[in-house]
């Protein structure tokens, strides 16, 4: 099946992907079909979806086209805001951003053609994406980085505010869906930094985020990708996040991915990374924070298909109240993938007696020349460390804070932006009741520098 064969409704009709609600919504019949497919899809993948039920979505009523509104999109490129209206096509010598529908229509040069062919293939192959997309398809955003160019940093934020939700959506069980799909195509030797984030205003309910992010890393290209997801949680348990990130990494290319899941009633994140050619590298890290009775399901598949590739995964869960965290880390090393080094690490911190963590490393290794390490732990804070801190005069709350801060600190330090750190801090405070020990003014204290100046 190719892109052209799919009846995507208004997908390939002219649309303004990031600005208005004029086009791009699928018809109600189409939505019915999507729901049907989704419920079947759930059952069809019983193992992969063992911990996440999509029942809630299936039971909800979708809004009609007229009821749907667009969330706020914010794009910035190297700190400069891109206006939504111009976002359908932004071109400079290093980078272009174009809507998928535009890309489908326009006369494509060689690079754009390569990107388009790749997207078509993805549509044809990726069933999960297909199914999720049928629920609520919006035009895609294609980001292409020219060969040999270091394009800088692109920030893409999608925020849903309460005031944007139409009056009808207040009716119980009507679901507001925000969806987006983004395609990153890096040509050879290209480099890009991306920060993709999802937010909702506090108190918003009946809200679903659907997100598909696909990445193509040509030979010797480099993509630093940070993904931050945060949703206000409702008492009806209807804030849902279904995300999928798929990356194909070619020879000597380098993918670094950081994921923050800071809140949802239900969050399912799929990561599907494929190291296609020799010396490709993927470093993946993540943090998921659970409070009340949320479910956070991280489902990772990493394929080593070629020799001398490197991968690391470090995903941490901090789970409070009755929350549940699931991490499935599937590493598949093919027969021909000699000299493979793959590390996996999934420590989970349980901050309450009723919190649960499930950790499922799945290593499928089909050759001998492989160095695979994996470590998974589920536990409370270290009692000895707590006592040590208290024996130095920190009260219990401060000692807990210090140790939890230490647990999340490692990933916090790698976050490239202050606002991401702030989002993490406020989320820790709100969902786990923990105020981080490090506050902003202090976090970069350089003891040597201070000491040299005294």
């Amino acid at each position: 099946m190719s892109l052209k064969d799919v009846n995507w409704g208004p997908l390939l009709t002219p649309s303004k992907p990031l600005s208005t609600n004029e086009n791009g919504f699928i018809s109600s019949e189409r939505q019915e079909l999507a729901l049907q497919r989704l419920s079947q899809f759930n059952m069809a993948r019983a193992e992969a979806w063992r911990y996440t039920s999509l029942k809630r979505i299936v039971q909800l009523k979708l809004m009609s086209d007229a009821q749907q509104t667009e969330p706020n999109w914010q794009l910035s490129f190297n700190e400069e805001a891109i206006k939504a209206s111009s976002a359908s096509m932004l071109l400079n010598s290093k980078l272009r951003i174009i809507s998928l529908s535009e890309l489908a229509k326009q006369n494509r040069d060689q690079l754009a053609e390569q990107a388009f062919v790749w997207i078509e293939q993805q549509f044809a192959q990726d069933e999960t994406m297909h199914d999720l997309h049928s629920l609520h398809y919006r035009d895609g955003l294609v980001v292409i980085v020219e060969a040999g160019q270091d394009a800088g940093e692109l920030c893409i934020n999608m925020k849903r505010e309460k005031s944007q939700v139409s009056a009808q959506s207040a009716i119980a069980n009507t679901l507001q869906i925000d969806s987006r799909n983004i395609w990153f195509y890096l040509a050879e030797d290209a480099a890009l930094k991306v920060i993709e984030s999802f937010e909702t205003e506090q108190g918003l309910q009946n809200h679903t985020q659907l997100s598909l992010t696909s990445m193509y890393l040509s030979k010797n290209s480099k993509l630093d990708y940070v993904r931050s997801q945060e949703q206000s949680r409702g008492n009806e348990q209807t804030s849902l996040h279904l995300g999928r990130v798929a990356a194909t990494v070619y020879a000597e290319a380098n993918l670094s991915l950081t994921s923050l899941n800071l809140g949802s009633d239900l969050c399912r994140l799929e990561l599907d990374i494929s190291l296609e050619e020799s010396q490709a590298r993927a470093d993946l890290s993540g943090l998921y924070l659970g409070s009340s009775d949320v479910l956070l399901d991280q489902h990772l598949t990493l394929k080593h298909k070629a020799p001398s590739c490197r991968s690391s995964q470090s995903f941490k869960g901090a789970l409070g109240a009755k929350s549940r965290g699931v991490f499935t880390g599937r590493v598949i090393v093919s027969q021909g993938a000699f000299d493979t080094v793959a590390e996996q690490n999934n420590p989970n911190l349980l901050l309450s007696e009723s919190a649960k963590a499930v950790t499922r490393p799945q290593l499928e290794i089909y050759n001998d020349d492989v160095e695979c390490s994996h470590g998974a732990t589920v536990g409370q804070l270290d009692e000895d460390a707590l006592f040590y801190l208290r024996a130095r005069g920190l009260d219990e709350a401060a000692a807990l804070r210090a140790l939890t801060s230490a647990f999340v600190g490692e990933i916090r330090e790698t976050l490239p932006k202050q606002n991401l750190k702030r989002a993490l801090d406020s989320s820790l405070k709100q969902s786990l009741g923990l105020e981080l020990e490090l506050n902003e003014a202090e976090e970069w204290i350089d003891w040597e520098l201070i000491s040299a100046n005294i």
């Binding site: 270290d382 024996a391 920190l394 009260d395 600190g409 202090e442 003891w447 000491s451």
Partner: protein, 250 residues
């Protein structure tokens, strides 16, 4: 300063380890406790510091006229009880410098004093670093993580000097130290001696006591103090071991 009467301690819900211990340490005095492995020395130190893993089943501990057992670990620390751990705990991810400032400030706040900012703190810590001969880059590392045995012990003395406690309990702070480090730690402790400060020094060897001369030496065996004497007792024990005392007991 410290008055322990008929103390009985069990591992929470289990065997009794300390079985009727009496000890009195007046302000300004240094008392040493020696005794064979497993006799209950560290248990005593944990009980003084407020470890919840041990249960006091009988007896009392009075510290500066207050009921010590009624306070939790952090209250005890804030009111001037300090334990230098036999095995200092590694805390990955908590920066040592940050930790030290937090504990100093926690103490200041509990005494109604303003917190120190990083620069003020750094001035204070620099002196103390010199006292125990630790490099400032030890502040950048995680608390005790990857510290050598001797560095851990010096980091304990560093904390003790920063907090200026009233009752210092040193649990084998001298073990694992090389000869120079022993002198450094010995001087460090000796420098803290004063009329308002008491020490309980747990050790297996006489050598620390050359630097920190004890007023009294006690022998702990089987959860009880079976013998007490002056500083010469330590020398005698070094020569004769514990057997002659233990035999006299039974």
């Amino acid at each position: 300063m410290l008055e322990i009467k008929d103390l009985h301690v069990s591992v929470a819900g289990g065997t009794e380890i300390i079985k009727g211990l009496n000890l009195s340490i007046p302000a300004g005095e240094v008392h040493a406790i020696m005794g064979p492995n497993g006799s209950g020395k560290s248990t005593l130190s944990y009980v003084l510091a407020g470890h919840e893993g041990y249960e006091v089943t009988q007896g009392s501990i009075t510290y500066m006229g207050q009921d010590l057992l009624a306070m939790d670990a952090s209250e005890r620390a804030q009111s001037g009880v300090f334990l230098a751990f036999q095995y200092p705990v590694e805390i990955p991810g908590v920066q040592n410098g940050y930790f030290l400032r937090s504990i100093v400030n926690a103490q200041r706040v509990s005494q109604g004093e303003p917190e120190l900012n990083p620069v003020e703190f750094m001035k204070k810590v620099k002196e103390v670093l010199k006292l125990v001969k630790l490099e400032p880059n030890m502040l950048k590392r995680s608390v005790n993580e990857g510290f050598s045995g001797g560095e851990k012990k010096r980091n304990e003395v560093l904390q003790m000097a920063l907090l200026a406690p009233k009752l210092c309990v040193l649990d084998e702070t001298d073990s694992g130290l090389d000869i120079d480090a022993l002198r450094i730690v010995g001087h460090g402790v000796d420098a803290l001696k004063g009329p308002e400060r008491s020490f309980l020094v747990i050790t297996h060897y006489q050598r620390l006591l050359d630097h920190v001369v004890p007023d009294k030496v006690h022998v702990l065996q089987g959860g009880r103090i079976i013998h007490s004497g002056d500083k010469n007792l330590a020398l005698e024990l070094e020569e004769r071991g514990y057997e002659w005392l233990i035999e006299g007991q039974s």
